[in-house]
């Protein structure tokens, strides 16, 4: 990280922290969405981008986080500030289990993706049929008024700061992980699993580790999701909608890069939200249509995503020799 990057980020952060003083509710809402998806995509990226195990069912972890904290809130009045750790713990455990079973049996690539889809669907069906957690109708987060201690706020500013801090922490934590041995090992597993094994990397453990961390981080985001949208239902959290959107931003932004997920969210969420607003509620699918189109175009023309493309362009612009091209490992 050079001086200019740090300066740039510092300026951005200052602006972001001061924004609620001047911005209207709608703009704040937009940025909350951007940050939430940036956060979730960053969490997904640990498993999908770095370790290279593309989960198409991350809604499982989002939903677990959302349901656990909300259930604790509604049933026993436990604050989501605590509930989110409970949700995270459950999610991490489930993640460990899923990771162990899948990777122990050598599931890779598309087969792993298919299992994650099936699991997410199974969760949708299971939760739809268990009445104590709302069944198909889902759960509504009780509004207690402006209660910061219960993660409920009048207006958007409170939520805004929470998700801002979460996203910043999320990026810092993942950056830290990537610079340690674990980060290298995940990339090695992604690039050539046999070679990694032969060099002493416990590939099973590395993959499970990535799954658990990703699950934990996503679940905490699930608690915020529940508190912000105040309603969660089986399909809205466990369904393919959130699962696909999360990975979409990571892929379009740049798989396996630190800033890819954030960039992806920054670029796509505002456009999609504007599309949704302009075309009205009846065209509920407008933003998904956009996402789908972008996904197809990106896969056809810039599979490395926005950040990947930027890295290539930068390398060419600075007229670097071919043998000093950007390494997958380079963390900004």
């Amino acid at each position: 990280m050079n001086k200019y990057t740090i300066l740039f980020l510092a300026i951005v952060l200052v602006i972001l922290f001061l924004l609620p003083l001047v911005a209207g509710e709608y703009l704040l809402h937009m940025i909350v969405l951007v940050l939430l998806y940036a956060y979730l995509a960053t969490a997904w990226n640990i498993l999908g981008g770095y370790a290279g195990q593309h989960s198409l069912g991350h809604g499982v972890f989002l939903g677990i986080g959302a349901y656990v904290s909300t259930f604790l809130f509604i049933q026993w009045g436990i604050t989501p500030w605590l509930g989110m750790w409970a949700g995270g713990a459950v999610s991490a455990l489930v993640g460990w289990f899923i990771g162990y079973v899948c990777f122990r049996y050598g599931l890779k690539g598309p087969y792993f993706a298919l299992v994650t889809i099936a699991l997410a669907e199974a969760f949708v069906y299971l939760t739809s049929n268990v009445d104590v957690i709302g069944g198909a109708k889902g759960l509504e987060v009780t509004w207690l008024g402006h209660r910061p201690d219960m993660m409920e706020f009048d207006g958007k500013a409170g939520y805004y700061y929470i998700i801002l801090v979460m996203t910043i922490l999320g990026v810092i934590v993942t950056r830290w992980l990537y610079q340690r041995r674990s980060g290298y090992q995940w990339i090695a597993v992604r690039e050539n699993e046999d070679a990694a094994e032969a060099l002493g990397v416990d590939t099973l453990r590395a993959k499970i580790e990535a799954t658990v961390l990703s699950a934990l981080m996503t679940a905490i985001g699930g608690t915020f999701y529940a508190q912000y949208f105040t309603y969660i239902g089986p399909r809205s959290v466990f369904g393919e909608g959130p699962s696909i959107q999360i990975l979409l931003f990571a892929i379009i932004g740049g798989l396996g890069t630190l800033w890819g997920p954030v960039v992806g969210a920054i670029v796509l969420v505002p456009i999609a939200e504007l599309a949704r607003a302009k075309l009205g509620g009846s065209f509920g699918g407008a933003h998904l249509l956009l996402y789908g189109t972008v996904m197809v175009l990106v896969m056809l023309f810039m599979p490395k995503g926005i950040v990947g493309l930027a890295q290539n362009v930068y390398a060419r612009l600075t007229r670097r020799r071919p043998d000093s091209a950007q390494s997958a490992k380079e963390v900004v």
């Binding site: 090992q185 060099l199 000093s324």
Partner: protein
Amino acid sequence: MSLLEVSKLTKHFGGLTAVNNLSFSIDEGEIVGLIGPNGAGKTTIFNLVSGFIVPSSGDITFSGRRLNGLKPHQVCQLGLTRTFQVVQPFPDMTALENVMMGAFVRHANPALAREKALRVLERVDMSHKAETLGRDLTLMELKRLEIGKALATEPKLLLLDEVAAGLNTVEVEEILALVRQLNQQESVTLLVVEHVMKVIMSLSHRIVVLNFGEKIAQGTPHEVAHNPAVLEAYLGEEASGA
């Protein structure tokens, strides 16, 4: 006590017996060559010893420790590292990062691993390519990298799988020199599989000859070259000296 002891090792793949009742040992400091016609089972033995496949029966003992059933990464951590016949770099990582992956076995701290990797790169003459991506290296450089990655794991026993394949005469000499240095200066024990006869004959202290998964001869290069069973197995192909 031998460094590596393979005892009555057998592997069946369905109806096919790839390795049959094989026994041999390697002492510390040796370079042992493993030769045999195509399909004799050499790569299978590498896979068995390094943990990539599980023996049907028999024992593999390394420094007194039984290797049967251990996963490849555990075998590597114990000090036995293998290279691959078809080089297996990490394409989107630099040469330095490639070697760091090996160094991480002994040094969990990335900074220390990086230092170690730099030293290893120097050792295999790849320092100038440290920042080059795996996908951009030439075959010779990849071969050196492959050895470098393995070296970084600080192995007591190194399994080299056809390291000379695809190289021209000059490059083969260079690789040979490197391997000899590793053995003499760094006391790395080696088990080498090779098709190029000249290489294996000049490199090995001892040679084990396989055919159809069984040992048909072993001894010094000279003994083996004059062994009638060996000559017959090769049907005069390469026994006349590549």
